[in-house]
Symmetry: C2
């Protein structure tokens, strides 16, 4: 580590001020992948208002809770929720242990890549697949399965690992908030254990700040060995009204910032908005069919309809991905930048 | 705030070294209310082993999770769990809104201070009382009720507010751990909302680090107003095997230190002990009938029987309150100190 005092003495004050400080200022400019405009301004103005000493909107660091949906807000969700693609791959990986799946729907459909049969199985079928692939092992074994899959699986469109299909502007927002002593949480419909397997590494969000859908687990102590087993029984569905409920149950404080991208985030935003003082409610609007995907009111995945209306009525921040984001993914070369 | 550079210039270096540094050293001596001996030594040696750079037992700060039971571990639990005394007082406070309680057990017993009828109602009766007094209001209103009660109620034996019936040596342990970058959690059988109403103020443990028994809550959005309502339906009983389950669900990391005082903490200690590397499992043994209470294997409250056996077998730290603690409560005058 460089001792700043020695460093200053060696190079002289003038050099420090002419060379180093401007570089630092540039490095500290928040949200570099956001185009200048009303959206970026609304985020920076909010953060300054609640963090500057003496501001009438000042919020104590301990109360600077920021919550983010994951699918479609921090990483992609097309052509299907990534966790569902994990579940399909797990069915194939473990098929030998379940010979009955060859003749039982919806598992047969997964094994045969039969999209029509899978569609016919509907949400109930998908839940069966998630239940079967997310249970019957310890929480630590499940964590291993997810990590192994993430290290090998590739996104069907980009060919990138799913952990790189994350939104660079949102990573910068997480960093910016944490630099201002916000505590950043994920509050999302994904399985908590699934999200914990990557959230710390790719978002800098530790396991204890990941809130999601949960299944009943049981404690076992056998032959001096303690473990926690996952069962397929749903404990909490962290979507819609389930989000403010889990925020209250796990955090016990009302967030002052909430970001989502779909109607499943509406109640989380309403709950955030209902508190006293200044708040920021935001939605990522997928408007960029060229660099990412364009979808909203009619989409089966990440439908954004009622929440978009309420955002417009109440003046919430709506991110127009196509025009507000200079870059979408960390791996995007500068040439993918949109012309303003 | 004193600017340390100016301060040093004004008073001179010699004064700093002769006067200030020894005072700082004394102030930093951990666990002043613990008598010197094997128990205090086991705590300090554990903390040093997992925090000193280069130690073979070194644990990264992010993984320094420490969990504490509350009733009987951080504060008292005699002559009855304090939360139960709150529930009895709430029955009396709200009796006018429930005229049927005058003739319905177990509420009638509470209103008439009929200890025999209350005992006859058993655990089921107590759960009814807790359910009735802990539901039907928003989580924020419940927080207000608990805070109001805590500000007015007094312990039947000491005449002190319940928030002063806390164990000074354990407060010092919490402080010591946090000074070494541990994250301190409560994992206890009390209602999460009840404990959050005081945990930050008296223990320095923020709401998001309080894990307890929970009841189902529901989100309501009416006339543009968002709220979360408490129902009497149990969601999670945070006792026994429920403790490692909630630790895994909420924290998602295995603690490296766990402290309890009863058989209800056994599984939490087993789960903590089952991880790799150095760990500290501890029990507060209530052996001090003079300054506090003496109870263990036969007690209906905080029964310590199987966990005491397992602690002895496995070499866990057992705190002998009478001989290990120089002082019990923060309000104890020095004259209450035990003679060694």
């Amino acid at each position: 580590m460089i001792n700043p005092v020695l460093h200053r003495q060696r190079f002289g004050l003038s050099l420090l001020f002419t060379l180093v400080l401007p570089l630092l200022a540039q490095a500290n400019e928040p949200l570099p992948s956001w185009n200048d405009g009303a959206t970026k301004k609304s985020i920076i103005e909010f953060v300054q208002a609640v963090t500057e000493q003496g501001s009438k909107h000042f919020v104590k660091p301990a109360e600077r809770i920021a919550v983010f949906d994951n699918d479609g807000t921090l990483w992609g969700e097309q052509p299907a929720y990534f966790e569902l693609l994990f579940a399909f791959d797990e069915v194939k990986r473990t098929a030998a242990q379940h010979p009955e799946w060859k003749t039982t729907q919806p598992f047969k459909a997964v094994l045969e890549n039969d999209h029509a049969a899978l569609a016919a199985a509907g949400t109930e079928g998908l839940l069966k697949i998630v239940g079967a692939t997310h249970s019957g092992m310890t929480t630590e074994a499940f964590d291993d399965y997810v990590k192994t899959w993430l290290s090998q699986a590739r996104h069907p469109k980009t060919g990138k690992p799913y952990t790189e299909m994350i939104f660079q502007p949102m990573l910068e927002m997480l960093d910016y908030l944490r630099s201002q002593n916000f505590k950043t949480y994920i509050v999302s419909g994904g399985d908590t254990g699934f999200m914990r397997a990557f959230a710390e590494k790719i978002y800098g969000i530790p396991p204890e700040q990941v809130i999601g859908t949960t299944f009943i687990t049981t404690f076992q102590f056998k032959d001096g060995k303690a473990s926690i087993l996952r069962t397929p029984k749903l404990a909490h569905n962290d979507d819609g009204a389930g989000k403010p409920v889990s925020i209250d149950a796990v955090i016990g404080r009302r967030p002052i910032l909430a970001f989502g991208n779909s109607d499943g985030d509406l109640q989380m935003l309403q709950w955030t908005a209902a508190g006293p003082g200044k708040r920021l409610m935001g939605l990522v609007h997928h408007t960029d069919g060229k660099r990412e995907w364009a979808y909203d009111r009619q989409s089966h995945i990440g439908r954004l309809d009622m929440a978009l209306d309420e955002a417009k009525t109440r003046g919430w921040t709506v991110v127009d991905m196509a025009s507000d984001w200079r870059r979408v993914y960390p791996f995007d070369p500068p040439s993918t930048e949109q012309v303003q």
